[in-house]
């Protein structure tokens, strides 16, 4: 090639190439940050994840740079192809990793495979660009120009990523946006090139990748949900993280399910069995249940049962998470499930930590329904202690009856009977009972009262599960669920959390 006359297309090609260094540097760092962030998000331990992702990425860049020596022929069109490939891999990287996470058995393999592939491609870019530009600038100027734009691009990316991209776009959209930036470099170069050097297949590939990235950008929201669908195996209709829990609602052919932190809370198909068993053995034993206290139960399903009893004047419901009670009050589909109980003037909702609330609470309740998540953690374990039951007993009127959701007596018999032992240690009389709820399996409850537990007086008509004839069966335990000696669950021993983990562990793998 002779010294080029500075005609217009040549000048603009040099400018576009230098600009592309900036874009390419920015995109390259963004993909690296995406992989690191995603890995720490999905695998935890961000120090390890970030450092191994960065290490693998930089190493792969070195491999790419080294491989560039074997690249021969038309450097510019090879550079364009590299850009198309990076745009596809990098642009889809975040979405692909999210989708793959629940599907693949070894997520690290997918992660590092992708990181190495992108890294190697990015490592090819700068050597190729330097070779393309070597006849357009003096060497001194060339190195200065390329490295300047490269470093500036890195700065742009590292500032944009935490301040703007992650908070505003999220990880998946950020990937697509920078994939589009990469592909626009390829398309701009293709358009500037004289027709003779333009490859129609390259242009078609570039446009195809562009289309896929734009589609991905618009489907980002749905992509995120699909990845949860893979986890839940049912279509997710609502998902939200509150400060306290991850709430996910799914629906499949009319069956609505609520999961908190991945644990099933109810299935609309059979929750009536659970909630009738939770509520009616209690209300059916209280002479006049005017005041009812519900601890937990933010889905309003227990409140729905309680409100059927016209004797009940007021339901006081204490649930930690305002988002939970708001969702089940304001979403028509969900409010229909609880019969709009949370909007009833007879229900007052307090969003508070029940452990603190009972300590401050005054007054007397004729019935108390305690419906907390299972004692999977020490914080929740406090809600099953002798100390807590003493506070609840203080709020239980003479002649009042309470019940406690007490996990599965079949899977976790020691944990189940620990609740009865603990209620007794708190000075109450206690009685375990159980019901079969298909989506849960065999499930247990523990009833308690100040004196002897009164006999069942009546049940309302129209219940689907309980009748005066079937109710006594709830109290019969075959040997595999029969009562056994257990320790008292106290704040200072947290015996229940330990036995719960031991008994449920084998079932959760």
């Amino acid at each position: 090639m002779t010294a080029p006359t500075p005609d217009k297309p040549q000048a603009s090609l040099a400018f576009v190439l230098l600009l592309s260094v900036l874009v390419v540097a920015t995109c390259g760092l963004i993909y690296e940050l995406l992989a690191g962030t995603l890995a720490s998000y999905l695998l935890g331990d961000s120090v390890t994840q970030f450092s191994t992702v960065i290490g693998a990425y930089l190493f792969a860049m070195g491999v790419g740079s080294w491989l560039s020596r074997y690249v021969k022929g038309d450097e510019l069109s090879i550079f364009v192809r590299v850009e198309v490939l990076i745009a596809l891999l990098g642009g889809w990287s975040a979405a692909a990793l999210f989708l793959l996470f629940p599907l693949v058995s070894d997520f690290r393999l997918a992660l590092y495979g992708l990181v190495l592939a992108i890294g190697a491609m990015v490592g090819l870019e700068i050597p190729l660009l330097i070779r393309i530009l070597q006849h357009r600038f003096a060497f001194r100027e060339l190195v200065s120009n390329v490295l300047t734009f490269d470093y500036v691009g890195a700065l742009v990316a590292s500032v944009l990523f935490p301040l703007l991209l992650v908070p505003q776009l999220g990880l998946i959209r950020t990937g697509f946006v920078f994939g589009l930036a990469n592909i626009s470099v390829a398309i701009a170069l293709l358009l500037i090139l004289p027709r003779s050097r333009r490859n129609a297949a390259d242009l078609a590939a570039a446009l195809l990748v562009t289309a896929s990235l734009i589609a991905g950008l618009f489907l980002a929201e749905r992509l995120q949900r699909w990845s949860e669908v893979a986890f839940y195996q049912e279509p997710v209709i609502y998902a939200r993280s509150t400060p306290y829990q991850r709430m996910v609602l799914t629906r499949r052919s009319g069956d609505i399910r609520l999961y908190l932190n991945g644990n099933l809370q109810f299935s609309s198909r059979d929750e009536y069995r659970y909630h009738e068993a939770l509520v009616w053995p209690v209300l059916g034993r209280v002479a006049n249940p005017a005041q009812v206290l519900v601890l937990g139960g933010g889905d309003g399903l227990a409140a729905r049962e309680i409100l059927r009893d016209r004797r009940v004047q007021r339901v006081t419901l204490v649930d930690l998470d305002p988002e939970m009670t708001r969702l089940f009050r304001d979403t028509p589909q969900l409010a229909a499930l609880n019969g709009h109980a949370l909007a009833s003037p007879r229900v007052s909702v307090h969003n508070a930590d029940a452990f603190r609330w009972v300590k401050e609470a005054r007054g007397q309740y004729d019935a108390v329904i305690v419906d907390f998540p299972d004692p999977t953690e020490f914080s929740l374990g406090k809600l099953y202690t002798e100390h807590f039951y003493r506070e609840v007993a203080r709020l239980l009127a003479p002649g009042g009856v309470m019940t406690v959701q007490s996990t599965s007596p079949l899977i976790a018999p020691r944990s189940f009977w620990t609740v009865a032992t603990t209620l007794e240690a708190a000075g109450l009389s206690a009685r375990g009972y159980h019901a079969y709820v298909p989506s849960f399996g065999e499930w247990g409850f523990t009833m308690a009262a100040h004196g002897a537990i009164p006999p069942l007086a009546a049940l309302p008509p129209g219940l689907r599960f309980l009748t005066p004839q079937s109710e006594p069966l709830l109290y019969q335990f075959p040997p595999d669920m029969a009562r056994r000696p257990t320790p008292v669950n106290r704040l200072d021993n947290q015996a229940l959390v330990r036995s719960f983990a031991e008994e449920w562990g084998p079932y959760e793998g």
């Binding site: 700068i126 400060p243 930690l320």
Partner: protein
């Protein structure tokens, strides 16, 4: 270095430059917070003898004057009132009595500034048991008479977790990745400690007791004091790195010192003296509160209300005829006042007592380890891979002792704002060099250190820190250096006769609540005996 990096980047791209900086290395953002500590101005004025002598004769007369309102001084006062003796006054240098057990409070929670728990005391700690009972911490007794402690005042969470190999595990001893030899040494060490725990000396006393004054004086056991814990471990063939790291943690936790700086007797005391006496298996538990031992300090202050004069540093004390004379600076009145007492109890660290009472002699001062305590207000609770948050959270890879969670007893929410109390004993440097470091570092430097350490343990706390308050303890803990049991200076201090008595955990050589309490009670009983006041001993 710079050229190397450029060389690497020239072949590729500058991406690395930004990416290689981990988040913690960026200059740390300033947080709201305060840099505080014991009143250094008053302390140094006392050290330098810059208080003017009072003019004229003694203005006040009192039966017993207690100088110093840490746990020892407060316990002495509590003991006097228990015996029905009311003619006494306590003078405190700071604006609030409580010493190492003081606490702070903000909108989120109360929090400790120093000591944060009291293990359920041994049966031999009779005075302490009586005090806890009196403070309403005992809800009942079992058939054998062992106290049943109020569960809301005991640790109510997973007690401790350790960040080990990128994952949180239960307990403070590494559970994974131990070689067969590591496991053998661990089992041998803890079996040996179990043996020491039940061992009795030739004099019939337990080998190691708490308070330590009840320990056996069997020469075979006392001989352990002649060597360092590090030397004893080496001699016994304990070489396992995880074991030594764990023991180093323990030594820094209780004594603020490295393994070679403490006596083997003190090292073994940590593991072999604890036999908590309580019903329902509570003996292994800890009494703790959001404000840490600030609760005990407040209850003690309350029990001796009306007897405490704060902001009143005693700067001179001497025997005078049958009684004692004390000069103190009254910060509020801005003048010195002289008090004549039948008897004076100097309830202060020994390095201070020696300055104000030259009669104690010029023996070299005991040595003290400096500490930094940070209270970090967070808007959400820490998490991390592995077991969930515990009360005490320690990283095997950190120089700090980790953090405790102030709100662990009061919430079942599993999230929400809290205060994390972070501890760092400056044990690597000599105490003097460490104290210089303590003074020279700025608030934002300390905040940067605390933040980086916390984020390395819990990257999930990024963005969750609302403020960091620092508390510097120049002389936080007496160091039980080899030979401390038979140190002539300590022996002389223990056997002081009226009208001047000493009361401080320095006399035990172990900076523990039980020791301070014991020394306070012992001084009070010695004072009552000297004054002919009748009482039944609690010792």
């Amino acid at each position: 270095m710079k050229a190397d990096r450029r060389g690497v980047l020239a072949g590729g791209s500058a991406l690395a430059a930004a990416a290689l900086l981990p988040p913690g290395c960026a200059s740390s953002p300033p947080f709201p917070g305060a840099l505080s500590g014991p009143d250094m101005a008053r302390g140094h004025r006392l050290r330098d003898g810059r208080f003017p002598a009072p003019d004229g004769p003694a203005e006040e007369r009192v039966g017993i004057a207690i100088a110093g309102g840490g746990i020892a001084g407060l316990a002495a006062g509590w003991r006097l009132l228990e015996a029905g003796f009311t003619d006494w006054v306590l003078y405190e240098l700071e604006d609030e009595a409580g010493g190492n057990a003081r606490s702070g409070r903000n909108a989120v929670s109360a929090y400790p500034l120093g000591a944060h728990y009291l293990p359920v005391p041994n049966r031999e700690a009779r005075a302490l048991h009586q005090m806890l009972d009196q403070f309403g911490m005992v809800t009942g007794r079992d058939a054998a008479g062992a106290p049943r402690f109020d569960p809301t005042q005991l640790c109510a969470d997973l007690e401790e977790r350790l960040l080990w190999r990128g994952k949180w595990q239960e307990g403070l001893y590494p559970a994974a990745g131990l070689s067969a030899d590591d496991q053998r040494q661990r089992d041998r060490f803890f079996a040996e400690m179990a043996h020491f725990r039940t061992l009795t000396g030739a004099d019939g006393r337990p080998a190691f007791a708490s308070p330590m004054a009840y320990s056996s004086r069997d020469p075979a056991l006392i001989a352990l004091d002649r060597q360092s814990f590090a030397a004893w471990l080496a001699q016994q063939g304990y070489t396992s790195p995880p074991l030594l790291a764990h023991l180093r943690y323990a030594s820094r936790d209780d004594y603020g010192s490295e393994l070679d700086a403490i006596s083997a007797w003190a090292g073994l005391h940590y593991f072999a003296a604890r036999r908590g006496w309580a019903a329902d298996g509570q003996g292994d538990s800890e009494l703790t509160w959001p404000e840490g031992n600030g609760r005990l300090a407040a209850l003690l202050r309350n029990s001796v209300k009306g007897h405490i004069r704060t902001a009143s540093p005693v700067f001179a004390a001497r025997a005078d005829g049958a009684g004692a004379v004390l000069d103190r600076w009254d910060q509020q009145a801005g003048r010195a006042i002289r008090t004549r007492a039948d008897l004076a109890v100097l309830a202060m660290p020994h390095f201070v007592a020696r300055r104000i009472a030259p009669a104690l002699g010029a023996a070299p001062a005991f040595s003290y380890s400096p500490w930094v305590v940070a209270n970090v207000t967070v808007n959400r609770l820490p998490r991390g891979p592995g077991v969930p948050l515990a009360w005490d959270n320690v990283s095997a890879g950190s120089e700090s002792l980790g953090y405790v969670v102030a709100t662990h007893q009061t919430s079942s929410a599993g999230n929400g704002p809290s205060v994390l109390t972070w501890y760092l004993p400056l044990s690597r440097e000599t105490p003097k060099a460490a104290r210089e470091l303590l003074q020279s570092r700025s608030l934002s430097e300390w905040q940067g250190i605390v933040r980086n350490d916390l984020l390395t343990m819990n990257p999930d706390l990024d963005g969750a820190i609302d403020r960091i308050d620092l508390w510097r303890w120049g002389h936080a803990m007496i160091r039980p250096t080899p030979g401390f049991l038979n140190d002539p200076a300590r022996r002389a201090a223990q056997s002081l006769k009226p009208p001047l008595l000493l009361a401080h955990s320095d006399l035990s050589g172990l900076s523990l609540f039980e020791e301070a309490h014991y020394r306070g009670v012992a001084a009070a009983e010695a004072a009552l005996r000297a004054l002919g006041h009748s009482f039944t001993s609690l010792l």
